[in-house]
């Protein structure tokens, strides 16, 4: 058990870089996270904005014990994500941009598989899985249908159900609405709001949707090329840069528009 147990998430001076083969013998190294520090209070929802390849997913992967950092550290309720992964895994769950499932298995079977790894036996999931699927608005008559037959929006609802089934106290949402149609996007966002009001969950929401960040989060951070440029309330961000919108704040902070992506950014996306 480490320091900061009163904070849900603490990240201090976190560094991560990747190297990939370049040509026959060469290797390229790209920093995905550069000395990132932040903290998230219990029950808070923090949005991390950033372009593709900015390091958002790398941050989420480090927090969910899927990546080992090169330097610095991260703690979930005081547990070191690198040295104490087991208690961290009990506390954390994640929804990513890809709703990854065994495609031939049904929603109920996929959820049962996930639940077993959190110690939930068949007796417990028999009632819990239908209940959680109902809560995310999944039609009961499609519970037994193979995932490959479901729409992307429907799959993302099952992904949310999978994360919530294990009652995580820290929920890591990595672009959960990217690629969804407007209706599915609105439904997923409404559900995130519901989680915020009904549960004692701390949420880290990584997104490149500025409106989503502004609507859902208490504070908004900007990760740019691996560096966290700010993490403040939306009003504080706007006041800091003297602007009206988050897009203008991005421009003021980076000198680029949010849509601009250089070759370096595209290259970085492969790494981060």
């Amino acid at each position: 058990m480490q320091e900061h147990p009163q904070q849900a998430v603490v990240v201090r001076d976190l560094e991560k870089s990747f190297s990939r083969r370049a040509g026959l013998v060469g290797r390229r190294r790209r920093a995905a996270l550069r000395h990132v520090s932040l903290s998230v209070a219990r029950g808070e929802c923090v949005a991390i904005l950033g372009q593709n390849g900015s390091g958002k997913s790398t941050l989420v992967r480090v927090l969910s014990t899927l990546l080992l950092a090169d330097g610095g550290g991260a703690w979930i309720f005081g547990y070191d994500v690198q040295r104490e992964p087991r208690p961290v895994r009990r506390l954390v769950n994640r929804v990513s941009v890809e709703a990854s499932f065994f495609k031939k298995m049904s929603a109920a079977e996929n959820l049962a598989y996930a639940a077993r790894f959190y110690g939930m036996g068949p007796g417990e999931t028999r009632a819990k899985i239908p209940a959680i699927l109902e809560r995310v608005g999944f039609p009961p008559d499609r519970r037994g249908e193979a995932m490959e037959n479901l729409s992307r929006g429907m799959q993302q609802k099952v992904a949310l159900a999978r994360a919530l089934l294990t009652s995580p106290v820290v929920l890591l949402l990595d672009e959960p609405t990217t690629g969804l149609d407007p209706r599915s996007k609105a439904e997923v966002q409404a559900f995130i709001r519901e989680i915020r009001t009904r549960h004692d969950s701390t949420i880290v929401l990584c997104t490149h949707d500025m409106n989503e960040a502004e609507e859902l989060a208490d504070r908004v951070g900007l990760l740019d090329r691996g560096e966290l440029l700010f993490l403040e309330t939306v009003d504080e961000v706007k006041a800091r840069y003297g602007v009206e919108t988050l897009e203008e704040a991005f421009f003021a902070a980076t000198g680029r528009t949010f849509e601009d992506e250089t070759e370096d950014d595209k290259d970085r996306e492969v790494f981060a």
Binding site: L67, L68, R89, F117, G119
Partner: protein, 279 residues
């Protein structure tokens, strides 16, 4: 923490691990159900493959009794080849299949221990492999018209189950390969299977091998499984201690070694970002 709290925590962790182990087996049952027809087609291929080996006995100019014995020896080799192939395939799928589906990150961030996860895959592999091996054996015996009146099937299954501990250990080592090379790692599992069998006398006695290969045969669990199973099917002998103790020793070494290799591979993958689907 008091001793009773400590005991309660230990007991909860043990219970959760057992539920996790059940979950791994249960998931494999779901997948087998969903891919049943594909698995059936693969079984036909295995039977055809085994027949091509066993029919060699029919072209050898020896007495019918000797032909029958040769065919039985070849059949045992073919069945163990198929059994080992399934074990390596399923244990290797611990990573390969989940990586392909994109679920691997969710599985690897779950609070179940890796030994339980891998052993769960191993248990299912052995159960499924035994059912399949029995099916191959029965069909080929009927097809060729083999006479195995003295066969001790109980002893054969028991010996195969004991050997499976070592096979799972080796399988764990190959399971890590798709983490290191997502594209080619799975194929290297087949290389391990082939190498193990070639030194173990899969279709011939170990005595025909060069000296250096015979030395390697001594540390291959397949050597003892093949030798014991042939005796049990041909003569009806029981489980011989001479076959069991080497398997227990190899198993006691290969399981911890397999886990250590997998752990090192997982650490490498987490260091270099290889868990990611597109990585």
């Amino acid at each position: 923490m008091t001793s009773s709290e400590y005991a309660a925590t230990r007991s909860r962790i043990l219970r959760d691990e057992l539920v996790g182990l059940y979950g791994v087996v249960e998931r494999n049952v779901y997948l087998t159900k969903r891919y049943f027809l594909w698995d059936l087609a693969f079984l036909f291929w295995t039977i055809a493959n085994t027949l091509t080996i066993v029919f060699i006995s029919r072209g050898v100019g020896v007495s019918p009794a000797e032909q029958n014995a040769l065919a039985t020896k070849l059949l045992v080799g073919g069945v163990i080849w198929a059994f080992l192939g399934i074990i390596f395939e399923i244990v290797t799928e611990t990573v390969a299949w989940e990586r392909w589906e994109g679920t691997i990150e969710y599985t690897f961030m779950a609070p179940v221990s890796r030994p339980v996860h891998l052993i769960g895959m191993g248990i299912y592999a052995v159960l499924y492999g035994l059912v399949r091996a029995a099916a191959v054996f029965v069909v080929v015996v009927a097809f060729i018209g083999l006479h195995v009146p003295h066969a001790n099937y109980g002893a054969a299954v028991a010996l195969l189950a004991i050997a499976s501990v070592s096979f799972i250990g080796v399988g764990m080592m190959t399971a890590v390969l798709p983490l290191i090379s997502p594209e080619k790692g799975t194929q290297l599992g087949f290389v391990a299977q082939g190498l193990m069998l070639v030194v173990s006398g899969v279709y011939y006695p170990v005595s025909v091998l060069p000296d250096w290969m015979r030395w390697i045969a001594k540390i291959s669990p397949a050597t003892y499984a093949l030798r014991g199973n042939r005796q049990q099917i041909l003569t009806g002998s029981g489980v011989a201690w001479a076959d069991v103790w080497p398997l227990l020793v190899i198993g006691a070494i290969s399981i911890p070694l397999g886990l250590a290799v997998f752990k090192a591979g997982e650490r490498y993958a987490k260091k270099h970002g290889k868990l990611k689907r597109s990585g």
